[in-house]
């Protein structure tokens, strides 16, 4: 049932060509003076990327130095005023959003890694109903934010939500999950873990396909228990995947927006505000696109820092495995 995955990954393992330079560069070398025909192939993709991604990145940074309302054509150059407001404590919600974004990262990423790895460990091997389980756990990853937010909204509904009913039925008092600042973000964490853990499980299963089976056999002969085999063989063997998934997870955490926005709009009382939600609110609800651009720049910088740190980690982890 996973044979296609296994074969495919093994083939990749045999030939780790990623990043190695192409051989046979004669055509390019002969025509060194003229631009390489490679550019011809790359140009259309770069053009689309330049218009809809690269230019908006530059424009974001530019806009962050202006004050304007997005309606009238007047744009006032205000220098670093937006940043002063943002960082200088004039906007307490900015720091709340930074804290929440970081909290989102440090809670959901380990949760998804742990649940994903746990599910993969349980599913790795000859388990009955493996395909059914795999399908069920992965299912949320293909659903849209609108659908997910709607369904979970009814689970967390303060009056008649499913979670509320269960708690009442077991003798507890009703809980206004999403309506209370203390619990709202944890409810959102739960939705995120539910949504993406199956994807992590899938990637872990693919990585486990590549672990040589005789490692387990000899460990078994040596009398290692199941738990010891998981801890001493599986976990270290999938470490490169753990690092890669950590990167995925962190990127995903910074991108998070839609479900939280639909569920809570960052509320109650900014308890679930994320940087991405503040950007949207400032730009489109409060008509302050310049200030929104300053927050967006902060998000860009934060993403870049995390990406650099994690890429360093990845190359370090890959080296230590080899």
């Amino acid at each position: 049932m996973t044979s296609s995955v296994g074969l495919d990954t093994r083939a990749k393992e045999r030939k780790p060509v990623v990043g190695t330079p192409t051989t046979g560069t004669t055509p390019a070398r002969r025509r060194r003076r003229r631009p390489s025909p490679g550019w011809l192939y790359v140009a259309p993709a770069l053009a689309v990327f330049a218009v809809f991604v690269a230019y908006p990145i530059v424009a974001t940074i530019r806009s962050s130095f202006y004050d304007y309302d997005g309606i009238s054509p007047i744009r006032d150059w205000v220098g670093l005023d937006n940043y002063r407001e943002m960082l200088g404590g004039l906007d307490p919600y900015f720091w709340k959003a930074v804290t929440n974004t970081l909290l989102w990262t440090v809670v959901t990423v380990p949760a998804q890694l742990l649940i994903g790895l746990g599910l993969a460990v349980l599913l790795d091997g000859a388990l009955r109903g493996k395909v059914v389980y795999r399908t069920v756990f992965f299912m949320p990853a293909v659903l849209s934010s609108a659908v997910i937010a709607f369904a979970w909204g009814w689970i967390f509904n303060p009056d008649e939500g499913v979670a509320t009913r269960v708690i009442r039925a077991t003798g507890g008092s009703g809980q206004a999950w999403l309506a209370e600042p203390g619990t709202a973000i944890w409810a959102a964490f739960g939705v995120s873990a539910w949504r993406y853990s199956g994807l992590f499980m899938l990637f872990y299963l693919a990585a486990m396909q590549m672990i040589p089976r005789d490692l387990y056999e000899s460990a078994r002969i040596d009398g290692a228990s199941w738990w010891q085999r998981v801890r001493r063989i599986t976990v270290p063997q999938v470490r490169p995947m753990t690092v890669l998934l950590t990167l995925f997870g962190v990127i995903g955490a910074f991108r998070e927006f839609e479900v939280v926005y639909i569920l809570t709009r960052g509320g109650p009382a900014h308890a679930t505000d994320l940087l991405s939600i503040q950007i949207y609110d400032q730009a489109f609800d409060l008509s302050r696109p310049g200030y929104a651009a300053a927050i967006a720049t902060a998000l860009l910088v934060l993403t870049a820092i995390c990406a650099v740190v994690l890429l360093r980690l990845i190359s370090w982890a890959n080296r230590s495995v080899e």
Binding site: G24, G38, I57, A59, A126, V142, A146, W194, A283
Partner: protein, 277 residues
């Protein structure tokens, strides 16, 4: 591997089910909840678990009373267009980077890589202004363009890696035959990178179909909305009928769910292949 014959292993498997079954129920709960609410008759028994009184009435009524069909057409157009664009442009660029070695190709890769990390929210302000300035609000390209650009990085990288994994003898043999590079790309490289194409089509298809925020911003005229905006569009109309609200969302969810269940294997192997690369 005679795992199952060993008693210890069999015990272990029983424990696995004990852990997996409750989790599976929890995982299915929101989906079942949504479908269940859609086939109930009154608001009062939205959460009813009784097997009686199920009806497809709401689903049919909602389909008749709303513009859902138009929204499905819109979603299909922008999704198909952006998948084609990402496959064509991404494979061309991946080919250029894998087949030729040229100055600046490293920078091209680095620039594209930064696109993978990018949070769309970070560029949403100028993107909106750009679409507005180009007069593209409420047109399909307003979504196809950004979707394509946001998916381009992953596409180029996956194609480049798939092409680099092809044996060198292949291109040498083709060059000896006198085939031009474009023919080598079209006849040889692209067909051989079918796994990458499946991965990219699934990733891009899901991203485009499921997008909420760009559609919310760019499609506002009551004609070009995608299915993800269905709830906002019909919330007022069905304010007093929860089962119909559920029915709208069930109709939004079902096509993706059905395609996923039917092509489950392609999803799993396609995405796993993408991950291991």
């Amino acid at each position: 591997m005679n795992r199952t014959t060993s008693r210890v292993a069999a015990d272990r498997l029983a424990w696995s089910h004990l852990a997996l079954l409750p989790l599976a129920v929890l995982w299915l709960l929101p989906i079942v909840l949504l479908l269940n609410g859609a086939v109930r008759t009154s608001t009062a028994d939205i959460f009813s678990v009784s097997p009686s009184g199920l009806t497809l009435e709401n689903l049919i009524a909602v389909w008749r009373e709303t513009d859902l069909l138009r929204m499905f057409v819109n979603s299909t157009i922008v999704t198909v267009a952006s998948v084609i664009a990402v496959v064509v442009l991404g494979s061309l660029a991946g080919f250029g980077l894998a087949y030729y070695r040229f100055r600046g190709s490293g920078i091209v890769l680095l620039v594209l890589l930064s696109g993978i990390m990018l949070a769309p929210a970070a560029i949403i302000v100028p993107l909106y202004e750009l679409i507005l300035d180009l007069g593209m609000l409420n047109t399909y390209p307003a979504l196809v363009g950004p979707y394509t650009a946001l998916g381009m990085a992953a596409s180029v990288l996956l194609y480049r890696n798939a092409f680099l994994a092809l044996p060198n003898e292949l291109r040498e043999a083709a060059s000896l035959d006198g085939a031009g590079s474009f023919r080598i790309y079209l006849r040889m490289y692209l067909p051989l990178a079918r796994t990458a194409t499946v991965t990219i089509a699934i990733l891009q298809g899901l991203a485009a179909w499921n997008d909420y925020i760009l559609a919310l911003l760019f499609m506002t005229d009551g004609k070009h909305e995608t299915v993800q905006l269905a709830f906002i569009a019909f919330q007022g109309q069905y304010f007093s009928s929860l089962p119909k609200q559920f029915a709208v969302m069930a109709i939004v969810m079902l096509p993706v769910l059905i395609i996923f269940l039917v092509a489950q294997r392609a999803f799993v192997s396609g995405l796993s292949a993408g991950a291991v690369k």
